[in-house]
């Protein structure tokens, strides 16, 4: 098992079906450590208290939406460098620009393929390794 496969993922989505799909795909990719949260409000304390290496978050969620979660993550000194992949149905140009400005590392729109998810995660991890 490679060091990367020991990475701890946090998957944030208000739909249990989508959390399960992402978790299964991550497991298929060899990432066994996947924790779930159903919105930004429940995710943030987990992120602050845990040792997460990668955050995959939806945008449109009750409570704290994904964009706000991203901003809170970037505002936290300990979490500022955490890789964040936005996985969402939000597809407006200005939203993607806003997410990029807020410091997102990758953006995948739903519906997505397993190959796209893998490609974006690999890209983010290799960019992080090169930094």
């Amino acid at each position: 098992m490679s060091a990367q496969q020991n990475l701890n993922f946090l998957v944030v989505d208000d739909f249990s079906t989508m959390r399960r799909i992402i978790k299964n795909l991550l497991n298929d990719l060899g990432y066994a450590n996947v924790t779930e949260a159903d919105d930004g409000t429940t995710a943030l304390p987990l992120l602050k208290g845990g040792q997460f290496d990668f955050l995959i978050t939806d945008w449109n969620m009750p409570g704290m939406p994904g964009l706000e979660l991203l901003k809170q993550v970037r505002a936290d000194e300990r979490l500022a460098k955490l890789p964040v992949l936005m996985l969402t149905a939000e597809a407006k140009r200005e939203q993607i620009v806003e997410a990029a400005q807020a410091g997102v590392n990758g953006y995948v729109i739903k519906p997505f393929t397993a190959a796209t998810l893998k490609e974006k995660i690999d890209k983010i991890l290799s960019a992080q390794a090169a930094a």
Binding site: D13, F15, S16, T17, M18, R20, I21, N24, L25, D28, W59, N60, M61, P65, G66, L67, E68, T88, A89, E90, A91, K92, R93, E94, Q95, I96, V97, E98, A100, N105, Y107, V108, I109, K110, P111, F112, T113, A114, T116
Partner: protein
């Protein structure tokens, strides 16, 4: 009722009366008095007509109010329950499909694993039979494909998230409608503003729905990648 008088008509009638009086002309006086009465009758008729229109309008508003109360108390909550049920059913169906796909995956893996073992074992009796070897190779290959398709089946259950988000936004609208209708039913003046809950970009707009809220939504992942690249990512 502050209906303005038709002063000119009265002035004309009074002047005719005054002239008839001055000339002591009885016939002219009767005619002028009759004209004066006509002016007064006309005024009363206008008043009656106005009251009738107001009464009709009040009755119509009462019917509209009754309909609004019906909508607020029955139809709208009913619509909400139906939509919530659709969310529940699609969620259950998606999870059940994933359960079944997950149960099938190890079956395919085990069959493929056993076939591969038989192929790899030179001492195996089957290894000598070309037909059996060919079959086992097809089993390994087919099970690999089956496993990949099962992954796609699980991924396809993402429809529940997308449709659920759309139904969720309609549910928000229904809640807002119910609140507004309740207010409308309480206030007889139905002209009050119905401020829809404003959807903001920062909260998220939900999945793109054809024909709804046409904006600058991107068509697919390739467009997103191109935009991010243009932004220097």
């Amino acid at each position: 009722m502050s209906e303005s008088l038709d002063i000119d008509a009265y002035a004309h009638a009074v002047a005719a009366l005054a002239a008839a009086l001055a000339s002591r002309d009885q016939q002219a006086f009767r005619t002028a008095l009759s004209a004066f009465d006509s002016v007064r009758d006309g005024e009363v008729l206008t008043g009656v007509r106005k009251v009738t229109v107001e009464l009709q309008s009040a009755l119509q508003r009462f019917e509209v109010d009754s309909r609004l109360i019906g909508l607020a108390q029955h139809q709208v909550p009913d619509a909400r329950r139906r939509l919530a049920h659709v969310m529940k059913l699609t969620s259950e169906a998606a999870h059940q499909t994933m359960d079944l796909a997950e149960q099938c995956t190890p079956l395919a893996e085990n069959i493929a694993g056993d076939a591969a073992k038989m192929l790899e074992s030179p001492a195996s009796r089957v290894a000598a039979d070309a037909q059996v070897v060919s079959f086992l190779q097809r089993v390994v290959e087919g099970m690999g494909l089956l496993r990949a398709r099962l992954t796609e089946v699980r991924l396809a259950q993402g429809f529940q998230d997308l449709t659920g988000q759309i139904v969720g936004s309609v549910l928000d609208l229904v809640d807002e409608l119910e609140r507004a209708l309740g207010e409308l039913a309480r206030i007889t003046d139905a002209a009050g503003g119905m401020a829809a809950k404003e959807q903001t970009i920062s909260r998220g707009l939900g999945p793109t729905v054809p024909g709804v809220g046409k904006g600058d939504a991107l068509a697919g992942q390739q467009d997103v990648d191109a935009l991010l690249q243009a932004l220097g990512m």
